[in-house]
Structures are given as structure tokens and as C-alpha cells.
């Protein structure tokens, strides 16, 4: 079974036509990979479907806009994968 990161990296690679080898756990989706908000909707759709979750993007965006969180907390891939794992665990609880 692929890790959360492997699944997310493959989704990003296929959705945004980014070479898979350039996508690292420490990559920032926006700053390093250049993914814009529209492309991120496609990625979110694929992630939501793959993991059977609903990533709270509106809440995350609001927290970033309010200065309560940094984009790294949600959009750096290793952190994003941690959030995904938490959502998957919460679903199964």
C-alpha cells in the first residue's frame, strides 16, 4: 500500500504535469511547485476521493488569512500528508 506521501505526490504529478522526482516531502505546493489555487482544486478533488475525506480548505485558508497559521503548516507536503492522515484517522474513529 503506497504511503500518503506517495499517493499525494502521484496525484500532484499527474494533475499538474510536474515530474514526480521533483516532488519531495519538504516541497511547498505553492512556493516550490508553483501550484495555483485552481490547480489545487483538482488536487483537492483527487485527494478527497483517494482518501474518502473532505479536506477543510476553507478553514485552512481562513486561518492563513487571519495570521493564525502559515501556509507551510498546510501546503508543505509532509505537513499536508500529516493533516490527511489525521482526517483519515478521524473518519475511522
Amino acid at each position: 500500500m503506497p504511503s500518503t506521501f506517495e499517493t499525494v505526490a502521484n496525484i500532484i504529478s499527474e494533475t499538474c504535469d510536474i515530474p514526480r522526482e521533483t516532488i519531495k516531502p519538504e516541497s511547498h505546493a505553492i512556493n516550490d511547485l508553483g501550484i495555483d489555487s485552481l490547480d489545487f482544486l483538482d488536487i483537492a478533488f483527487a485527494i478527497d476521493k483517494a482518501f474518502g475525506i473532505k479536506m477543510p480548505l476553507e478553514q485552512w485558508t481562513q486561518e492563513v488569512n487571519d495570521g493564525k497559521a502559515t501556509t507551510e503548516q498546510y501546503f508543505q507536503l509532509n505537513n499536508l500528508c500529516t493533516r490527511i492522515d489525521e482526517l483519515v484517522a478521524a473518519k475511522g474513529a
Binding site: L38, L41, D42, F45, D48, K49, P56, L57, T61
Partner: protein, 157 residues
């Protein structure tokens, strides 16, 4: 259909919140300045307007599913296929199904049938945002009434 005003559906025929589907209908006007250019001597309903009609049908479904709490704005189109010509005066049967309601976005699959024949279909992504202002929302509620949007369904959905 008031094509020049971008009102591309006439009526909501069915809204099923359990199945997350909607059906609407529209009649392409017999005459319009649009047909004078598209095309002279061979008037056709422009494909972009058929796509917009699918988006409007999907949009009302999303508004229903989100219980009038979000406004869906057309964001992306995938796998759009314009399969047959649509002519002035034809009746359209439109439908959409919600594929996913995400946080701040929604994805639908929509189609238009004309004389029981599939005329076009696509997958449509919307950004969901709060209504920009009270007037905008009031206009949408007014349009909902014109389209016979079943407000009562929301309370039971």
C-alpha cells in the same frame, strides 16, 4: 431561455437532494441576434452557451446542496463534448449530478439531451464562496423563484 441575458434555463423540473441530482429544461429561442452571426444562413446554439446552460443547471444543484449558503462560480471544465448541433426553437432537457462537495469547491457531471439524444456533456468544477453581497443573494433568490426552485426541499434535504 433569455439568451441575451444569460438566463439559459427556464425551469427546474426535479431536484433530488438524496441522490444529489437535478433536472432542468429550456427552450432555445426561435430568433436571436446571436443566430445572425452564429451562423448566417445556418443558425446554431453556440457550444459555449450550451456549456453555460450545463453550468447553470449544476449551479442550482450546488446551491441546493449547500442550502443557499454558498454561491458557486464556474472554475473549470473537463471532458466537454459537443456531440450534436442544437438549433433555434429546440427543447433542451438538462441534468446534473454532484460528484463531490469539497470544502470551497464542488464538482458535477452534467449533460443536455435534445429530442432524447445526448447533445453535450462535461465535468464542471465550481468555487464555492459566500454570496458577495445582499443584493447578489436577493437576485439569486428572485431567479430561484422564477425557475420554480423548490425551496421547501431544502428544509427536508
Amino acid at each position: 431561455m433569455r439568451i441575451e441575458y444569460f438566463q439559459l434555463i427556464d425551469r427546474i423540473v426535479d431536484l433530488d437532494l438524496a441522490q444529489q441530482t437535478i433536472r432542468t429544461e429550456a427552450r432555445v429561442p426561435s430568433a436571436s441576434t446571436i443566430f445572425e452571426g452564429h451562423f448566417p444562413g445556418y443558425p446554431l446554439m453556440p457550444g459555449v452557451l450550451l456549456i453555460e446552460a450545463m453550468a447553470q443547471t449544476s449551479g442550482w444543484l450546488v446551491i441546493a446542496v449547500t442550502k443557499f449558503s454558498r454561491m458557486p462560480f464556474f472554475a473549470a471544465l473537463k471532458d466537454a463534448k459537443l456531440r450534436s448541433f442544437v438549433h433555434p426553437g429546440q427543447n433542451l432537457s438538462l441534468s446534473a449530478k454532484l460528484l463531490h462537495e469539497g470544502s470551497g469547491y464542488a464538482v458535477t457531471k452534467a449533460e443536455i439531451r435534445c429530442d432524447d439524444k445526448l447533445a453535450c456533456n462535461a465535468e464542471i468544477t465550481f468555487r464555492l464562496v459566500e454570496f458577495p453581497n445582499a443584493q447578489f443573494r436577493a437576485n439569486m433568490e428572485k431567479m430561484a423563484a422564477i425557475l420554480e426552485f423548490p425551496m421547501g426541499n431544502l428544509a427536508h434535504g
